[in-house]
C-alpha cells in the first residue's frame, strides 16, 4: 500500500528522500511501522493524525491514508 505522509516542522528532514510524501509499505502496517521505516525518533512521536483524526502509533494503516506526524509541542512560551 501507499500512504501519504506529512512530517511537520523539525520532523520534515526525515522525509527529505520522499519529496512527494508517498511511502510504500508492505502487508499490514501501523503508524509505528511507518515511523520506524523513516527513522523517526519513536520516543518523540506523540501526536499523529490519520485522515484528520488523532491516532496512536498502533493505528493500522490502509492504502491512501493521509498521515501527519508532528513533533511534540515543547516550550509553548
Amino acid at each position: 500500500m501507499v500512504v501519504n505522509v506529512k512530517l511537520m516542522s523539525l520532523f520534515a528532514k526525515y522525509l527529505k528522500d520522499y519529496p512527494d510524501g508517498k511511502i510504500s509499505l508492505g502487508g499490514t502496517a501501523t503508524v509505528r511501522t511507518l515511523a520506524e521505516s523513516l527513522d523517526l525518533p519513536i520516543k518523540r512521536v506523540k501526536i499523529i493524525t490519520v485522515n484528520g483524526k488523532q491516532e496512536t502509533l498502533d493505528k493500522s494503516l490502509s492504502d491512501g491514508d493521509l498521515v501527519y506526524i508532528f513533533p511534540p509541542a515543547i516550550g509553548g512560551g
Partner: protein, 614 residues
C-alpha cells in the same frame, strides 16, 4: 546551615524615601515558597479592595524563591507581582536573565516598591547599599538605552537592570519590564505600575552567597540534572531551534492565532515563520539565561535586506504567533524588527500583536479609518502596519492613545459591537494558543488569575505531547483532542504547577522541554531548604498560591461571572484539524469547579480553604 532564603524583604517607600529591611517568617515560606505565591499573599494582606492599579496604593513586588541562590537549572528567574492596569486583576509576570540571582546575591528574597516618588528615580541595590537615585537623565529613554545609561552612570557594567521603557513611563496598560536586554516580564502591564510610581528601573548587584542546607548533595543533584536537561533539549532540538520549533505543530493542530483568530489554517505562513526556516533565515543561536542548560532564547543576525539589518534577540513562538500569523505576516525578519521595537518601547509583544490584529479587523469593518490612524491604512500581511502601530502604541502617540488602556478598553470606545470581537479573558489578550484546539485551555484561560494565559497552566503542551506529570496522575494518553475526559484535571494540575514554578522561581521549560520531573525538582528543593517536602506537599503550595491569587480577585469582584469564553472564540472552524469542533465549555467548567472545591459563585468552599490551611 541555611535554607536557601535570607528571609529578608527590602521595602522601599517611594513617597517618603524610607528604606527598610523586614524579616520573612519561615512559616510563610513553607506555605507559599516565594515568588508569585508569596507575592500574592503579600498583596492579599496589604492592599485594600478595588484599588486603582496606577495609584500609589498598588505595590510592585519583585519576588524570588529558593532556586535563585544556587545555580539550579532554570533558576535564574524572578516574579513581579501587583494589580494589573490592563485587567484590574491580580497579576504576576516573570523574567529571566541575571536579575533573580543578582538580588539573591545582594542579600534579599523580595523587594517591595510602594507609594509614588515625587520625581523620576531608579533604585540601585548593591548588597547593603540601597539608594534611590535621580533618573531625570534616564527618563524618556528606551529600555536598552536605559540599561546602558544606568551602567554608564554608575560605572558598574555588572549591574543587572530591570527597567521600563517609554510605554511604562506613559502608563500604557501593556507595558512590560525589560531585564538586561535579554528577558522581559511581559504580560499584564506591571511596567505601567512602575511608571505610575515614577520609578524607571531597579539595578542590582550582589556579592553574597545564600547558605543552603546540604551543599554537597545539592552540587551533585545540580550536576546530574543540568546534564539530563541539557541532553534532553539537544535531543528534542529545543536548544537548536528554540520555541520557533513549535510553529508548524501549533498551526497544524489549529492552536495558532491566524488573522486575529478568524482564519482556521495557514500552513505556509507557519512554515516560513517557524524553525527550521527561522533558524536559517535569522542565523539563530541559543541565548541562555544564567544557569540554563537549554538556552531557548535566540540571538539572531539579519544582514539583508538593509532596512531589516539587525543583531540581537529574536522573537519567541508567542511573538511569531501574535505578530506573525495573527497579522498574516510570514517573514520572520519583519517579526524580528517588530519584536525589537516592542522590546525597546517596553510593551508586551503578545498584547501589542493582539491589539494590532484587532485594529486591522476594525479597519476592515470601517470602525477605524485613516482619520484615526493619522493617515495610514491598517492591512493584513503588511510590515508597515505592524512596525508603525507597535511604535505608536509603545509611545502612546496617535492611534496609540486609543489603545493605551488595553484592547478591551479600546474596543469599548471604537464601536458598540467591537467588544465581542476581542479575544481575551478578564481583559488579558489571548496568547498564541487556541482553546478550540487544546480545549483544556478553556477552563485555564477562564479561571486564570491574571486572565487568558497559557503559561500559568501549560496544559496545551500536555495535549500536544510535550510533557506529562506522572507524579500527580497526568500521563501520556490521558487526554485526547476534543474529548472532555481528564481535560479539567490537566488544566487544574497545570495551573498549580504554573504557580509552583513561579514561586520557586523556576523556568517551566525545565519540565516542558527539559523533561525534569517533579520528583527531581523536589529533591533539589529539599537539598536547598533542608525541609522534607513530598511532591504532593510541594504541589499543594502551588494550589494554595493559586487560591490566594484567586482570593485577591474575588475581593475585587471577579467571581464566577467573569469566567467566560469570548464570543469570537466560540466560532466553529470550517477547515483544518479543529473543523466542526466545539468547546464543551459549560461541562468542563462544572467539572473543573468540582475538582477545585469551589462554590458556584467561584469562592473556595470552606473545606477547600481548610485543606489548603487558608
Amino acid at each position: 546551615m541555611g535554607n536557601g532564603y535570607w528571609q529578608k524583604t527590602l521595602r522601599v517607600n517611594l513617597t517618603t524615601g524610607d528604606i527598610r529591611v523586614e524579616a520573612i517568617d519561615e512559616k510563610d515560606l513553607k506555605a507559599f515558597i516565594g515568588g508569585a505565591g508569596l507575592g500574592a499573599e503579600i498583596l492579599r494582606r496589604e492592599i485594600p479592595e478595588k484599588i486603582d492599579p496606577l495609584s500609589p496604593e498598588n505595590l510592585v513586588i519583585f519576588a524570588t524563591g529558593p532556586f535563585q541562590g544556587p545555580s539550579v537549572p532554570g533558576g535564574a528567574k524572578f516574579s513581579v507581582v501587583g494589580i494589573s492596569p490592563q485587567t484590574g486583576t491580580y497579576a504576576d509576570t516573570a523574567a529571566g536573565a541575571d536579575w533573580g540571582p543578582a538580588i539573591k546575591d545582594a542579600g534579599y528574597d523580595i523587594v517591595i516598591l510602594e507609594g509614588k516618588s515625587p520625581k523620576p528615580v531608579y533604585l540601585q541595590i548593591i548588597d547593603d547599599d540601597v539608594q534611590i537615585k535621580d533618573a531625570a537623565a534616564i527618563w524618556g529613554k528606551d529600555t536598552f538605552e536605559s540599561i546602558d545609561a544606568i551602567r554608564r552612570e554608575t560605572g558598574d557594567d555588572k549591574l543587572s537592570v530591570a527597567t521600563i521603557g517609554p510605554a511604562g513611563e506613559r502608563l500604557v496598560a501593556i507595558a512590560c519590564i525589560a531585564v538586561d536586554k535579554h528577558s522581559f516580564a511581559g504580560r499584564c502591564g506591571l511596567g505601567a505600575v512602575m511608571g505610575s510610581k515614577n520609578i524607571k528601573a531597579v539595578a542590582v548587584r550582589g556579592t553574597k552567597t545564600v547558605p543552603v542546607a546540604d551543599p554537597d548533595k545539592l552540587k551533585e543533584l545540580i550536576k546530574k540534572y543540568q546534564k539530563q536537561i541539557h541532553d534532553t533539549a539537544v535531543e528534542n532540538e529545543l536548544r537548536a531551534h528554540g520555541t520557533p520549533g513549535l510553529c508548524e505543530t501549533a498551526e497544524g493542530l489549529g492552536d495558532m492565532p491566524i488573522k486575529y483568530w478568524e482564519q482556521d489554517t495557514w500552513p505556509e505562513g507557519a512554515k516560513k515563520l517557524g524553525a527550521p526556516n527561522y533558524t536559517e533565515q535569522l542565523n539563530a543561536k541559543p541565548l541562555p539565561c544564567k544557569f540554563c542548560p537549554i538556552g531557548c532564547h535566540r540571538q539572531v543576525s539579519i544582514t539583508s535586506p538593509e532596512k531589516y539589518r539587525y543583531e540581537g534577540i529574536g522573537p519567541e513562538y508567542e511573538t511569531l504567533g501574535l505578530m506573525g500569523t495573527n497579522l498574516l505576516i510570514d517573514d520572520p525578519k519583519v517579526v524580528t524588527i517588530g519584536n525589537d521595537i516592542a522590546n525597546r518601547m517596553g510593551v508586551d509583544t503578545i498584547s501589542v500583536g493582539a491589539m494590532i490584529g484587532f485594529a486591522v479587523g476594525c479597519f476592515e469593518k470601517g470602525w477605524l479609518t485613516t482619520d484615526d490612524t493619522g493617515g495610514f491604512e491598517l492591512k493584513w500581511g503588511d510590515a508597515d502596519t505592524l512596525l508603525k502601530m507597535t511604535e505608536l502604541i509603545g509611545l502612546r502617540e496617535g492611534i496609540g492613545e486609543l489603545f493605551a488602556a488595553g484592547t478591551l478598553a479600546a474596543a469599548k470606545k471604537i464601536h458598540p459591537d467591537a467588544v465581542e470581537e476581542v479575544a481575551h479573558c478578564k481583559g488579558l489578550d489571548f496568547p498564541s494558543h487556541d482553546p478550540r484546539s487544546c480545549i483544556s485551555l478553556a477552563p485555564t484561560y477562564a479561571t486564570g488569575t491574571r486572565g487568558a494565559c497559557h503559561f500559568r497552566g501549560p496544559c496545551e503542551d500536555v495535549e500536544m505531547g510535550g510533557f506529562y506529570l506522572p507524579e500527580v496522575g497526568i500521563n501520556e494518553g490521558d487526554v485526547k483532542f476534543f474529548e472532555q475526559k481528564n481535560q479539567s484535571l490537566v488544566a487544574s494540575k497545570c495551573q498549580d504547577l504554573g504557580v509552583l514554578c513561579n514561586s520557586l522561581v523556576l523556568c517551566l521549560f525545565m519540565i516542558d522541554g527539559g523533561d525534569w520531573t517533579l520528583t527531581g525538582l523536589t529533591e533539589v528543593f529539599n537539598a536547598i531548604t533542608g525541609w522534607d517536602f513530598s511532591v504532593e506537599e510541594l504541589m499543594l503550595t502551588g494550589e494554595r498560591g493559586f487560591t490566594v491569587q484567586r482570593m485577591n480577585n474575588l475581593r475585587d469582584g471577579y467571581d464566577a461571572s467573569s469566567e467566560v469564553m469570548p464570543k469570537r472564540i466560540l466560532k466553529i472552524a470550517k477547515e483544518g484539524f479543529r473543523a466542526g469542533k466545539e468547546i464543551p465549555f459549560e461541562a468542563m467548567m462544572k467539572e473543573y469547579y468540582a475538582l477545585r472545591g469551589w462554590e458556584p459563585n467561584g469562592a473556595p468552599c470552606e473545606e477547600t480553604l481548610k485543606r489548603l490551611s487558608l
